[in-house]
Amino acid sequence: MEPFIRLETVAVPLGVPNIDTDQIIPARFLWRKRHDGWGHLLFHDLRFDDAGAPKPDFALNQDAYRNARVVVADRNFGCGSSREHAVWALYDFGIRAVVAPSFGDIFFNNSFQNGLLPVVLPAQRVAALRAALERSPESHVAIDLVSQTVAGPDGAIDTFEIDPFRKECLLAGTDDISFTLGHRDRIAEFEKTYEAKVSWL
């Protein structure tokens, strides 16, 4: 996993609430393998028409936003299906952070497993960021994980909260399996005590 430390980049505003993971990556593509590459399928049915041609009104199809590495979304982004493919599609497209007022729970957890940073900021501030990005499409957003700040194109700097464990993993670029495997003995010990209690399992 690639570490996430600091990122300054063009950001794309997607001001639609409840963008579910079915929209981020439609179910018909999910049989593919992780390493097959997913970026070209991101937001597939929003980005492309029935004939496969890019829809010009979709922000990511516009030159100004094409190289965005941050999505500034609306509430409940990534709700619905647990498909981690939604994170893979964003990541493979080049997106490294999503800023939103709230996230779908499973999507939020999946993001950290892949080096994608989900940032929660107050709805009003996120709306202001989107408005600023719509006004000046090529302006930059800077996200600093160490200081937990987002600097908008309007000059305002906001602080965000993040679980310290998730932050550590992102900064180091490690997933949690290796960390957990370091606690193998503890797990075995727990299982022994626990299974004595619930012997019927």
Binding site: V16, P17, N18, D20, D22, Q23, P26, A27, R28, L30, W31, R32, K33, R34, D45, D50, D74, R75, N76, C79, G80, S81, S82, R83, E84, H85, V87, S102, G104, D105, I106, F107, N109, N110, Q113, N114, D163, P164, F165, D175, D176, I177, T180, L181, H183, R184, R186, I187, F190, E191, Y194, K197, V198, S199, W200, L201
Partner: protein, 469 residues
Amino acid sequence: MAAPATLFDKIWSSHAVLVRPDGATLLHIDRHFVHDGSGNAFRMLKEKGLAVRRPDRTFATPDHYVPTLSHDLASINEPHRRAVVEDLEANAKIASLTLFGLNDQRQGIVHVVGPEQGLSQPGMIIVCGDSHTATHGALGALAFGIGASEVGHVLATQTLWQRKPKNMRIVVDGMLAPGVHAKDVILAILARIGAAGGAGHVIEYAGSTIRALGIEGRLTICNMSIEAGARAGMVAPDDATFAYLRGRPYAPEGADWDAALAYWGSLPSDADARFDREVHVDAAEIAPMVTWGTSPEAAAPITGRIPNPANAPDAARRDSILRALSYMDLTPGTPLTEIAIDRVFIGSCTNSRIEDLRVAAKVLDGRRAVVPAMAVPGSGLVKAQAEAEGLDGIFRSAGVAWREAGCSMCVGMNGDLVAPGERCASTSNRNFVGRQGRGARTHLLSPAMAAAAAVAGRLADVRQFATSP
């Protein structure tokens, strides 16, 4: 004396292997269900050179990609789909997991199979790489969906890192009116609290209405907790839970049963336990519900009309309704009962259990569907039970296709799709844009309401079908 605790608190603390100073908690997992969408997690394990830590705690069944016309693997003529089903069977074999395979009558939708086999029990933590895992919470378990990396983590360690969500209680009291079912209750709750109304919380459903529901109704309600954005949904175990579990293949027996029962009886929330949020719902006010939009929160009583965006409380809400109505091709003010439908789907982990099929068959008995319709049982055992009761005959006589068990048209990954522009009355759980197929328009409703819609060819009030034809 211990501080008062909720059902959720009790399960959480009894599974904490490790708590970091920052609050991150490593939880032990009792049951892990894997399905034909779990291939990437098995590949990840292989790449890391790791084995499945607890094959005895891991159960596999293919559901998302299985064909429903026949369970012959060779009948999957799309090689990619066939490969994912074959992959699961191979992974299960390599890791010595218990597999309910395609030609096993116990195969089915993982969230139907777990409870049916007695694998899902009170007090457990149950996970699965599927967002509808909350279903199993109906048995008094903490059950939630996880992503592929977390599936890999559980396979390798039988644990998961989590941060404790908050407690929320939704109390539903009173008698449900005739024609109103568990699906209507959860759709009414979603309409009230919204698609993110449970975010950051585990919901405990309580109250006399929930108590009076059978386990199958509770499974339907817990199933859609994720549609409110909740981490999980659960119902405290009670006599109905114990009666449901007793005698099931994986339920404890003899002295084990007595020990389990004593433990399960200690799980319900203490009387003075504190919930971070409470919502009260009056069951008597719930009518048969349908959704009209592209989020499950866009639900309304069948007696209602398509909302007028002009009456929305704010601009964001107005835009949201306009977008939904544009996709759904609906006009503000239209009575819901005037919406003609093209197709009906009865099935999915929300509504494919035997009670669901009975209720739908009761409405269809002696009537004919006027649009294409299919009934897809949740498992091979549900199918066999329905056939033993003659329900398949009622469906067939009504012109409703009777299929093999699987997820089918809820998500269309097996090729059971709603055509672009078609309008489907569906007992599934998501009316998202493109969920049942690109351009497909979904109206969520109960099995009884779906049957009524099939007969009427439009959304209809099932209460008008109360008597036999």
